[in-house]
Symmetry: C2
Subunit: 209 residues, 2 copies
DNA sequence: TTTTACATACATTCGTGTATGTATGTAAAT
DNA sequence: ATTTACATACATACACGAATGTATGTAAAA
């Protein structure tokens, strides 16, 4: 039973990528052969080599399919950012954490990124090429923090860029450690109050001393 | 020229492990064959299989050789912790960050842990077995935060455990992102003020409202 | 009829584990 | 002080599976 129509082919491609996420997550990217993916997807390596040049290209396609948090791409982004910069930032982080909690397939991809992948050679290049996306997020957050300072909503002990780096580090670190070992702490209940404390450090009044 | 004495053998073993760090860091753990390590260390696979059962055992030996931050193991640890809990915690984080900045071989091992290693199968088991070490650090920090609350040095909006998880997340996240891309931000100048802000969130007075 | 979307078959390379060889150290017997 | 007997510390060689990329076959779609 061979699939031929364009829709069928697209479905095959998606099934390969879905399967790749599962197998990568279970065996690691480097330890996974294209045959492993093919077998579990119910196709042969021929199908994989038809759709993708090699494993790295397949991994890249897996990334491209990722739906990024919506906050950063929403149409009314700049308006919301201007109206309540700190609220926007907090909503964006909550959205990201929420996706990690609720969207299993989203979470599984990040588990691969963080714990089941070696960034060397072509994989390192691939990551670097996707790094610009992250720089875009940094820019947006930085602008929001700058606006918050202009509005007097936060102190000036951190530059907007430092605040951005700090927040991203806090969020990434929490999610990294939680995905590494979910038994370490309950993310859903811990993240909100930890982030409350984090933002409290920004809004605390500065001693004149 | 073959080495025979015990000292020579130990030197060979160390050279293999030193080389392994370099090669793992360059090629990734999974992508590195024992032949790669042997060639660069100036021995054959025979030497490696003499000293280690396989690659995982070699990786484990690499971890065992790691000198952990001293703060947690110092003789006067509990005394310093009791005298100034928040100061102790801050000094411990500064020490860890300082080692990442100044000790290149220490940093290279963490680069492997975080970016050049897939935690699946035996490697996942190995990591889990070393996880207890981390739990010990968590216990110490948690006790320190609890003491700080008893002394009225910090507010009670976070439990000691939540504060611990938050701090570890902040530090790990900063170091993880910095080792991923050192050009992202200057760690040496950013870390102190970001941590200042973090602790400010703990010590900020709580609104009665 | 020509592509498309795969499956099948093949050649080659590479890594692992182990088995074996060997030169040297070392401790006890003589 | 030698010699003996064995352990140590590797190097060399081999057998085996496994993964990759490509070349080719093929049936249905367009």
């Amino acid at each position: 039973m061979v699939r031929r129509t364009k829709e069928d082919a697209q479905e095959t491609r998606n099934r390969i990528l879905d399967t790749a996420v599962e197998v990568f997550n279970r065996q690691g990217v480097a330890q996974t052969s294209l045959n492993d993916v093919a077998r579990e997807a119910g196709v042969t390596r021929g199908a994989i080599y038809w759709h993708f040049a090699n494993k790295v290209a397949m991994f890249d396609a897996m990334i491209e399919r990722l739906v990024c948090p919506l906050m950063f791409n929403a149409a009314d982004r700049d308006a919301r950012l201007a109206a309540d910069p700190l609220g926007f930032i907090r909503a964006a982080t909550d959205e990201f954490i929420g996706m990690m909690l609720n969207d299993a397939s989203f979470r599984r991809v990040f588990e691969i990124f963080w714990h089941k992948c070696e960034y060397v050679g072509e994989m390192a290049n691939l990551r670097d090429s996707h790094l610009e996306e992250g720089e875009n997020h940094i820019d947006i957050l930085q602008r929001a923090f700058a606006l918050a300072q202009e509005k007097g909503l936060m102190n000036r002990l951190l530059t907007p860029h430092q605040a951005t780096i700090g927040l991203i580090g806090q969020v990434d670190g929490l999610l990294f450690n939680w995905t590494k070992n979910p038994d370490m702490f309950p993310l859903a209940s811990y993240a909100p109050c930890i982030l409350d404390a984090w933002f409290r450090g920004l809004t605390a009044p500065v001693d004149a001393a």
